[in-house]
Structure formats: C-alpha cells, structure tokens
Symmetry: C2
Subunit: 430 residues, 2 copies
C-alpha cells in the first residue's frame, strides 16, 4: 500500500471536527477504498484551548491556516473555516498556488469566487473538490459532474436548505405560523440564532449557483441568481396549497432555455405527486434532468457533521486514488457564458391570495385587471362569507409571463377593496 495521504485541516467546528472523527472511525475501510491511509497530521483553528470532543494529540497545530495550507508536510488542504473571504479564501488560494489539492465545504466562497478559484486550480494543476458544499452527504456534485456527464442537462431543481424545509414541514404538519416554526427550529439547533442566511434563501442560492455552473458548463455566477426566502409564507397559504393539491417548498431551480440560463430560489407550490413533495424535515433532494437519462433524483441529509464529513472524505479518497476532474467538469476555456435570463421572463402558473372586502364587484375588478394583462384564470376560491369584512380570495392562473403577472399584481394591490399586500407564489409542475 502506498504512503499515507497527509491532510492539513483548517477549521475544527462541526464540519472539521466531523471530518477528523470520520477519518479516525473508519480509518481501515477508508485506507482500503483509497488505496492508502488518509491521516490528518496538522490542524488550525481559532481557539486552541477549546474542547472540541475530538483528541488533537499528535497533530501539529498552526495558528495561521495559510501557513498550514502551504506546509511541505501537508499533501492535501481541507478548508472547513467558512465564509466567502478572509482566512478561508486566503488559505485556499495559498494551497492552490502551491499546487496542493484542496477540499472545501465552503459554498459561499465557491458561489462568490468560484470562477476565479477554479481558474487558479486549473492553472496550477491542483485538484479542487467540493462535494460537501452542496446538499451535504448526497453525492450530488459527483453525480452531476461525472455520473450524468454524458447528458445535456436541461434542469436542476432541489430542496437545498434543510432549515427552510424543516420550517415549512412544521408549518404544514402542525399548522403553525412561520415565526413559531422558526423558534422551534432554533430550539432544536436546525436554525442559527441569526437565521437570515438560511431563511432568506442565500445559502440555497450559493448551492444553486454551483450546481448551475456544473450543469450548464458556465462560470459560477451568484449575482444572476434570483433569491427570495420563506419569511412571507403563511400558514394560511400552506393550508390553501393543501386544498389545491400542492405543497409549498423552498426550491432552487436552474433551467436552460432557448434564451439562456435562469437560476432562482423562491418558495414554490409543487403538486403533492411530485417526487420532491414527500421530502420533509431537514432532508435535501436534488433532481437533474438530462436529455438521455431523463430525471434522476437524489435525496439525503443536507447538513450535519456526519453527512458533511462523508462528502469531504469522499473527495479525499478521490485525491488519494488520483481521480482527477476539472473543478467544474471541463476546462475553464470551454465554459460558455450563456446569457442569464431574469425572473421577469419566467413562463409559468401562479397562485395569488388576496385579502379583500367581501362586497359585490370585487372579483369583477380583479378579473378585469388580469384580463387586461392577458393572465388567464384557472381557478378561484373564496371560503366563507362576511359581508363588508375581509375574506381571503385565492386565484390560480394558467401559464403566463411573470412580467405580465407582476404588472397585474401592482394594479390589483392598489385596489381599495384589497386591504393587504397580495401574496404571490409560483406554481411549478416538477
């Protein structure tokens, strides 16, 4: 058996600690599958004194992750620090500059600087692997970059954030409001004290930007991802969705159309019969559509120490075996810069909930505005009657352009009889 692969690990939080624990727990099995032992020999973290529950005896300690990344005794650098910039980016760039393979779980860094970092990796010939950056333990990156590499990918759609999926699952299963479900998620450790990164869709958007780059062979372009989170999803809309045969999920969808590539994160209504509908709680799922393979769905745990470590160590085994792939599946010079299609170009169906004063003529006014913008109604639902008071009215449309829907909505929202900002949800037949 070849000499051990010496790993320098920066960051000893959930991800780094989990990686260290996994490499030790399954050392013999990993050595067999990697063709050689994989051993963490040096680490770096912010606070040397903190007890992390994994013994650090025998490991060389670096105060500076950049020094760790370029140390001659380190064969591979694992970045588990986090953050798009700062020490994470500095150490990754230093490792690549030194021609050293890098494994990272850092979706923010890859989404924002991925194109430049991949170009650097290509220039120095150093492998750059990031299975753990998307969908945790699900081998989604490998499936897309290698397993489905023969296909022209037409669409990627996924539940990419476990925090949001947990909150939406709780809201539906227990008929709770968003704030209450969020508090419960925080209590259980599924949401951060400051949850905005997750619930505003930014984390999912980072992941989608990476998937879209791989799927469509284009440089990572986080800036072109349309992002909406789940703060405005209400228990009432979840209940109406159920009545109409839908579930509400926060989905990331990237599509290739004749006009270019669109990538967007927002709450959607999908049919209960969709294979993504039963994916509940903290689970993630990604569906790829390829021209020869059809639809392939992958589901599993999208976060946590074990699943994330599983992905990082898979990358290390690839490196140990010498299995090498360009970071985004092909040489950077071959990546195409197809235009990004804005959300206003979306063609699809919509769910619209209005709080209106229950009086004659209101529906007529709304219908007329929709007609003026060529938006065709599929269904209308008004539950209960309270003459002169506010009642919810739910409309679903046939397929129309988002720009038309938005223009109609602006006028509808301005009607006297509409007494709260309208709620709009996109319906996807995934």
């Amino acid at each position: 058996m070849a000499h051990p692969l010496s790993v320098g690990l920066a960051g000893l939080g959930t991800v780094g600690g989990g990686t260290l624990a996994l490499l030790r727990a399954n050392a013999e099995l990993i050595a067999a599958r990697a063709g050689r032992p994989i051993t963490v020999t040096a680490v770096s973290a912010r606070d040397r004194g903190r007890d992390r529950g994994v013994p650090l005896a025998g490991l060389r300690w670096f105060e500076d992750p950049v020094a760790l990344a370029t140390d001659p005794g380190v064969d591979v650098f694992v970045e588990a620090i986090g953050g798009a910039d700062g020490p994470a980016r500095a150490s990754v760039e230093a490792a690549l500059a030194a021609g050293k393979p890098v494994v990272t779980a850092n979706k923010a860094m890859l989404a924002v600087h991925g194109a430049a970092i991949a170009a650097q990796a290509e220039a120095t010939g150093a492998p750059l692997l990031f299975e753990a950056a998307v969908a945790g333990g699900i081998p989604a990156i490998k499936a897309l970059r290698e397993g489905l590499a023969a296909n022209r990918i037409t669409r990627v759609a996924g539940i990419l954030n476990g925090t949001c999926n947990y909150i939406l699952t709780m809201m539906r299963a227990e008929a709770r409001e968003f704030a209450e479900a969020l508090a419960e998620a925080q209590r259980l450790g599924y949401a951060e004290a400051d949850p905005s990164f997750d619930i505003d869709g930014i984390d999912a958007a980072h992941k989608l930007a990476i998937l879209a780059a791989l799927a469509f062979g284009r440089p990572v372009d986080f800036g072109s991802v349309h992002v909406e989170g789940i703060r405005s999803v209400s228990a009432l809309d979840i209940a109406f969705a159920g009545e109409l045969g839908y579930r509400i999920k926060l989905l990331g969808i990237a599509e290739r159309t004749a006009a270019g590539v669109s990538a967007r994160i927002h709450p959607v209504m999908i049919p209960v019969t969709s294979p993504l509908a039963p994916v509940e709680g903290v689970f993630n799922a990604v569906a790829f559509e390829g021209d020869f393979v059809g639809r392939v769905l992958l589901e599993g745990r999208g976060a946590g120490a074990g699943p994330t470590a599983s992905a990082i160590v898979a990358d290390l085994i690839d490196i140990a075996r010498g299995r090498h792939t360009p970071p985004f599946g092909m040489a950077a010079s071959l990546l195409s810069a197809e235009p990004a299609v804005p959300i206003t170009e979306r063609e699809g169906a919509y769910y619209l909930r209005l709080m209106v004063v229950d009086r004659p003529g209101v529906i007529a006014d709304i219908s007329a505005i929709l007609r003026d913008h060529s938006v065709s109604l599929e269904s209308m639902l008004q539950r209960g009657r309270s003459p002169g008071e506010a009642v919810p009215v739910v409309l679903t449309t046939h397929i129309c352009r988002e720009a038309a829907m938005a223009a109609a909505l602006a006028r509808i929202g301005a009607l006297d009889s509409v007494i709260a900002p309208p709620t709009l949800l996109r319906i996807e037949a995934l």
Copy 2:
C-alpha cells in the same frame, strides 16, 4: 485537446445502439467533459444486414467480438452483447487480458463471474466499469463506490427491476390481477415475451449481488442471494396492503448484521410513508444507509436505450479522464468473505393471508399454532361473513424469526379449515 478515445462496441441492440446514438448526439459536450473526443471506430454484432436506425458508415465491422476486443486500433472495449457466458464473457476476458479497459452493462455476467473477472482486471491493470449494469441511468455504482466511500454501509435496499415495478403499480392502480398486468406490460414493451427473467426476480438478484459486493467489500456472490419473484402476488393482497397502510414492492435488500451479510429479492410490504413507496411504474430506486451519511436515496429510469447509454458513456468519460478505481472499490485481496446469512435467519414482521372456512374455532386453531412457535400477532382482519364458506383472514405479526414463521405456516397450511396455500409477505420498515 488529447487524441480521441477509440471505442470498440460489441452488440448493437438497445444498449449498443443507444450508446452509439448518444456519443454522436452529444459529441462536443462529451469531448469537453472527457477532455478528448470519444468516438466509436469499430463495431461487432450478429447480423450485419439488419437496419438498426443508426448509420454504421465509416465504422470497421468485426464478425468476432473477441477480435474486436483485442484489436490494436481499439482503446476501450464496450460489451453490450449480454448473457453471462458465450461471446460476452469471452470478449471481455480477451480485452482485459490485452490490458484494455472494458465497459459493460452485463449484470448477469458480473453477478455470476464478477469476482473472477474483477481479479483478472486487477491483474492486468485494465479498468473494468459497469455503471449501466445496475439501475440503468441512476449513477448508483459511482455513488456507492466513490460518493459514499467514507461510510461503512449497513444496508442497501432498492427497486431494481422496472418490469416488476410496472406490473405491481398497474395491479394496485387499476386493481388488476398479475396475469392481466403482465400482458399489458408485454404489450407496451416493458416485459419480454418470456418474462421469467424479470418477474421471477433473477434480473434484480443479479443487480443486488453486484451492489452487495460493492457495499460490503466482498466478492460477488450471486449464489447466496435468496430470490423470489412476483408471480404469487395477488390483487387481493395488494388491496389488503393498502388497507393496512402498506405498498407491495419487489425489493432487493442487502444487509450487514453481526452474523454476516444477507441478500434477498422478494416482494415486501413497506409503509406508504417509505421513500421507496412512491417510486412507481418503470422507475428504479436505491437507498443506501451509511454510518456517517445516514440514508441516501437515488431514483431514476432503470432501463431503456437513453438511460443505459448515459451510464455507459459516463464510464467512458471516466476512462478518458483516467479516473481509475478498482472494480469493486478496493483491491481484491482486501475483500472480505463475511458469511452469507440465510433467509431463515431473517428477523422481521410478516403479513399472512389465509383462505379459511368461516366457522367457529378456526382463528383459535391458528392463534394456538402461532403461539406454539412464539409468533406474536399484531393485527387480525376478517372482512365479511359467509358461514360455512371460504373467507380471507389477514394477520400481521410482530417481529419474529423467519424459521419460526415458516414452521408455524407449515402447520397452519395443513389445517382442514385452511382451504388454499397461505400467502406470506415480509413487512419491512424501510
């Protein structure tokens, strides 16, 4: 870009023809992802005159696949002939002996001769890849062998035969009997004229033998797979399953327990809430359970020209990129021969349907026999009353040993009041 990878393709049926079509349709994309063009330059098939819908002009024609496999102008040999022995095996062995990489979709050959063929590949250093042999277009082999390589796998469970899944789906959705659903599957081309290979579970067992070898790091052992097909599943049992909150599926299950490894194909009842329950029609799905990653589920099309070609070309891209892995994930010398655990050692719950004469004392007799064998009842269901005539009685048990259940069943089947052979289905909480 490097020189093209020259492919010799033996077999021009659904699989071979699809591979040729895919390599041509997505040639530019595949060249970008593979780092070089991948081109079929030579083919072999039984009947040169037959029109296959793909132009063969410019390709060298070989009457003998063994000659094709060893031709100096061929860089990689793709075997799409089929059959465990005969020309398929001869040509694969010839290619490997010549040190030439082999890609095959041949699950029968791998299940029966996989250990020997993999050892030969290892001895000559020639890559042997077979993504298309299991679950069609789903990158299940790559996920297991590479993506989840850091994990000790505890269980593999899958819907591995689209023909059976289609028949069971039709039986449930349209309340049809087996023979009728089979005829419909044959009419649609989802089942062969001689369907026994699929419906008796042999095809699924081939795939499970391959998955079990990869999952548990042991030589392929088709002989130790317990195989039952779906001929005996009745519309009545499917209806009762629905009433009890279950679906009936033909599953392949391979598990590692303290006693060794068990692998079995048989119809099972799984809860409707199982992630495998909504996998319907010709779709396949595989669930892997790993000690760090938890459960990962993959779903997609398990057969057909496009999905199978997608898997074969993914293997060719791996070869073009020089991504090399031992056929079963680790060196043959490291594979362990854990004992195979027979089905009689299964511990689980059971569903039992009896056709009994409706008269006092029958249930008491049955209950007494179950008690004698320490089988504990969970539920009992008798629909309708027809004193003196035959009625179905459905029992479900708590967890017990298969051997005990089988012994009890033999005695129950021999009761005068039990007027047809009992139906037994295993319940799995997957």
